[in-house]
Symmetry: C2
Subunit: 458 residues, 2 copies
């Protein structure tokens, strides 16, 4: 037992930083269902997957038995430039709420990409470089992933081609300029550089694009260029694996002060941050029966866990990527325009879907306006202005802390603060001006999208 | 001697954080000349100064004998939310430059205001609150100071009225929204809320404003409202005092690993960051004769130290604030539009001016385009995307490291990285698009402004 007063921020030393990523699947009693090839609709082989991803990443994607993957030195050295991230004791928030709860948050925003995305971007760029590739392609919506990948590619001298959804390209010129600063080639999507882009432009000349279309353009470009691969920033097992650096650091920091979390909360879009944050705590729960609640928070506008179906579905709108079994609203589901772009995904990581299905994780959904209320409240009390995505977790953490106030329980609440909102001020402006919508899809809308799930589920 | 390998980032523990600010004037053999009242042109009294500033701050402003001012607990607790800031060993930069120099930078950008300005904002807000004031007024150009003050006022429940230069208000809507998130009242200047604003609007209906005008509006508003004071984010002795937290932390971190800096570099606008960073090192130099070079870096477009005159001048364009003896280009000097808004100030802190005058500090100036080249290079190598202001120090640090490469010397170079450039992407865009100007004032332009210095100097 460490009796020292818990500081505002717990930093691990470099020596204490995790040396391996943790593959939760190795400890799961029920493993997630395998990925299916979009061509054969049969479990995808390592060979097939290696056509899409770098070999090492394809191996990580499929491996459900190796519990720990050592983090290569090159990646650890990059991590040292912006990690360990602080585990913050939210003393001011606790006092403001007058709660007996102890609130902690793991803050991933202290790097130029502004979010946790960099943790996987640097790993994916490293393996691409190691395989001798020339570059990678990807899509970006809100821009966090594109920024992170630009930084990672710049570090390893890889070319980086980003297809940015046209409306974001126009509305978020600053994100675009950050990517350019890191030497990335940023193209508004749809573009006339690809067949699919040309086709869409012909059909819908004035379109502002969509994530589905940008993915298709990025995949097409990678397949046509020699020495390129397409990379993804969420959903995949490999991404969750790299993101376990978040949870492992969090657990090490808590262990240092002998703190046992009662509740661990994270926002969930594709699941990369949440999966990374909770992995070691869920592993503990499975192996040692520890009593910890895990809560996934999703936007009410895109409620894959709370209102979706557990079924095989395509990961992308264009149906070119592998299928996975997951909680999904249907790959044809178009979420309402919301200001948490990073959570606008129709499905959910297969690992998280399985955990939810098995009762190892809870899920809840929150509305946009209450999320921004929590975000602004948090900014004023704790200083840091959060990303709208991260604020979903803040909202539920505050709710849980207020429950503790009623019951008098002094629970340890830990949540993931995935990033800062510096590039989301247009959303905050809408909130300040009182013109933010709280659209929630109707049962009918969800049913229509779910009715189009692929036949494989029948 | 600590033989442990120096980590990428040196963090002090909470216990190691400075408990007092350091007043360098107490150790200076030649003290800076006293402030003069703009009404009497005689040394300003504490009573006169207390009409403008909070009492405690007025005392700090004038006191040239007390070496240490204890930091009140309330401020220390706020500091703990975002400090200590890391002292980073720039391993990647050293390798990229292939220099034997060891490069360190003190990074002040890991807070929502994005810069070091918060260090003094929280102190000024605290003393205002302690004195029972209702609120404060200020001006902001680029927006860093306004953001920092908004955060500080929000924390202590003070009203905050910010006059934001109209062109920034329009061009930097996101900065404005950050301030609104913290509850500040942001008014584009000139406005019709003040006499001076109305007058200027009548004379120049389409004007985009100026810092001088915004200062005048803020001062007028403070003087007309009961329980309000005007506050400033740079230049003043009190601000440099609060900013010594930067230098004290830097020195403590270096001492921990027994590192003696050979060169300390900082960008200089009004001088708040530089003054704070160098204070303990200059103190050492004066008291113990340590051999350390101190370099102030200013923009070639606004070269107060390198091309200005050491004379009494007004601190503001409107000539309502006290006069101080400083290196100045004349309070009527209008610097060319540049992208380092924080360095566009006609004068320089009187402490720094005296140090420069006495040969205790060097100064150099750099051009805008080479600054952005250094900024982009740094971003790609070290990850962090710097503010244009901070990049002035980067440019000179790189130059010094390259000199070491030639001589084979393994000097310890320390520089201040005052903030991030997340709200400066429009400037980066101009750099990427190759449309950035490198205007340098002519001798004639400087002479004209200097000819208008107040008569007191005759």
């Amino acid at each position: 037992m460490n009796n020292e007063k818990i500081p505002y921020k717990i930093y691990l030393s470099e020596q204490e930083m995790p040396k391996a990523w943790y593959n939760l699947r190795a400890d799961m009693k029920v493993k997630p269902a395998p990925l299916l090839s979009p061509k054969t609709l049969k479990p995808i082989t390592l060979e097939e997957l290696s056509e899409v991803f770098c070999e090492e990443l394809a191996k990580q994607e499929i491996d459900e038995n190796t519990a720990y993957f050592p983090i290569p030195d090159e990646i650890r050295n990059f991590y040292k430039m912006y990690r360990p991230s602080p585990l913050v004791r939210a003393y001011c928030l606790e006092e403001k709420l007058q709660t007996p709860a102890h609130i902690y948050y793991k803050f991933e925003g202290n790097n130029t990409s502004g979010s946790h995305k960099l943790n996987s971007a640097i790993a994916q760029a490293y393996y691409a470089k190691k395989q001798g590739l020339k570059g990678v392609t990807t899509e970006t919506g809100a821009g966090q992933w594109g920024t992170a990948l630009s930084m990672a590619c710049s570090y390893f001298g890889l070319d980086c081609k980003v297809y940015m959804v046209k409306c974001s390209y126009k509305q978020k010129p600053f994100r675009r300029e950050v990517m350019r600063t890191y030497g990335a080639n940023v193209t508004p999507s749809p573009s006339d550089q690809t067949e699919i882009g040309k086709k869409i432009l012909q059909e819908f000349p004035g379109t502002n694009g969509s994530l589905g279309c940008a993915i298709s353009e990025a995949v097409e470009t990678a397949s046509k260029l020699d020495g390129y691969r397409y990379v993804l920033g969420s959903v995949l097992n490999q991404v969750l694996l790299h993101q376990t650096i978040i949870g492992l650091e969090t657990k090490a920091a808590l262990d240092k002060y002998d703190i046992k979390p009662d509740i661990v909360i994270g926002c969930a879009g594709g699941g990369s941050n949440l999966g990374g944050l909770i992995a070691p705590f869920v592993g503990d729960k499975i192996k040692n029966g520890t009593d910890v609640r895990i809560i996934a928070v999703e936007p009410a506008s895109c409620p894959s866990l709370t209102r979706g179906k557990y079924a095989y579905d395509y990961c992308d709108t264009g149906n070119v990527c592998p299928l996975q079994k997951m909680y999904t609203l249907g790959s044809g589901f178009i979420p309402a325009a919301s200001h948490a772009g990073g959570l606008r995904y129709h499905g959910m990581s297969s690992i998280l879907s399985q955990l939810y299905h098995d009762g190892l994780m809870e899920a809840t959904s929150v509305k946009q306006t209450e999320v921004f209320e929590a975000a602004e409240f948090f900014a004023r009390v704790e200083g840091t202005l959060p990303a709208p995505e991260s604020a979903h977790a803040i909202k539920v953490a505050i709710d849980e802390a207020l429950k503790c106030k009623q019951t008098g329980e002094s629970k340890n609440i830990v949540f993931g603060l995935t990033g800062t909102g510096y590039f989301d001020m247009m959303s905050y402006q809408k909130f300040h001006d009182g013109v933010m919508s709280d659209y929630i899809p109707t049962d009918e809308e969800i049913k229509i999208a779910l009715d189009k799930l692929p036949d494989i589920n029948v």
